[in-house]
């Protein structure tokens, strides 16, 4: 299976995200957006708004200072 056919799923660990928005800024496919609900720390965390558009480039995990993003393949 080539990389093109792979399906990637991005998940944000809500209670680890501080809502800095770097992942939202650097995601070229606009997969991520801001959640309307507050998390345990009182931040508006990021959440996948277009999960099907994820290409697994891992830019979001590179820029996340809090290791709050998990990317799954398959």
């Amino acid at each position: 299976m080539s990389k093109k056919d792979k399906v990637f799923t991005v998940k944000v660990r809500r209670d680890f995200c501080k809502g800095c928005g770097l992942c939202i800024e650097f995601c070229k496919k606009e997969v991520l957006g801001t959640s309307a609900k507050l998390n345990r720390m009182g931040y508006n965390p990021a959440e996948p708004v277009k999960p099907e558009a994820c290409i697994g480039c891992m830019m979001c995990t590179q820029v996340c200072p809090d290791l709050a993003i998990e990317v799954y393949s398959g």
Partner: protein, 255 residues
């Protein structure tokens, strides 16, 4: 479903750091933990924490960490490395720590060519104490102690400490990088890997300066602060390789 980005082995599981949203420390912490895992150095790693925002870094790393007095990171690292040369010693310092109160220790440890690696986080303010002007603040930068911008007639000029130590013969590797974009973060990881490898090969002092955002004290959003690094800060502190004497050292050793 298979997780691609596994949690780094030497980063404590499920901790939420005390850093502000968008702080560069978290990114550099992750890079260090990943590199120690990739280079298989975690068992002998020994990190010296600074006074500053990263003072609580020992809560986040899962290997040996010691806390240093303010600015004395490289002095403690020197002692550790000399007493136990098998340790892999990293000094993690901020700009208030390394280039203000610890200037003497930094300069002399670099001049002695101690076989340690220094990770220098430069965010151009004293972050922990509330955003006062640091020696590394750039000209015109507004901080709580320079509300009208840094004026060279009163406050002097930004201190390029990495450029200073790069001129010393004892320094084998010095590079300046940023964490303002995913591409820059990849370069940062490569630079820190080179610095770590310099110590593993026993070639001498290695330092990596990381230009890192401080959105809270710069009074910007995290995204704006990344842009500010790329537009303003890199004009003063040009990223790139400052010195690389590793090949010379290898030849000297071979003779």
């Amino acid at each position: 479903m298979e997780l691609i980005n596994n949690w780094p082995k030497y980063y404590k599981k499920d901790v939420v750091t005390h850093y502000c949203p968008g702080c560069g420390h978290g990114i550099v912490h992750r890079i260090i933990a990943e590199l120690l895992e990739e280079m298989d150095l975690g068992k002998q790693a020994y990190l010296v924490c600074p006074a500053g925002c990263a003072v609580l870094a020992y809560h986040y790393f899962d290997f040996d960490v010691i806390e240093s007095a303010h600015g004395r990171g490289t002095a403690i690292a020197t002692g550790a490395k000399r007493a136990k040369p098998e340790l892999f010693v990293i000094s993690y310092q901020g700009d208030g720590d390394l280039s203000a109160i610890g200037t003497a220790e930094t300069i002399h440890s670099a001049n002695r060519g101690e076989n340690i690696s220094v990770v220098f986080i430069n965010n151009a303010v004293y972050g922990m104490t509330g955003g006062q002007m640091a020696p590394t603040s750039i000209l015109g930068q507004s901080t709580t102690t320079s509300p009208d911008g840094r004026n060279p007639e009163v406050d002097g000029y930004p201190l390029h400490i990495t450029d200073v130590v790069a001129n010393f013969p004892g320094v084998a590797y010095a590079e300046r990088v940023t964490v303002a974009s995913p591409a820059a973060i990849k370069k940062t990881k490569k630079a820190i890997r080179n610095a770590f490898q310099t110590q593993v090969d026993g070639l001498g002092y290695s330092i990596v300066e990381v230009l890192s955002p401080c959105p809270t004290n710069w009074k910007m959003t995290p995204v704006q602060s990344c842009k500010w690094i790329e537009e303003e800060m890199v004009k003063e502190y040009k990223p790139g390789l400052l010195t690389d004497k590793r090949e010379e050292r290898r030849k000297d050793r071979a003779c």
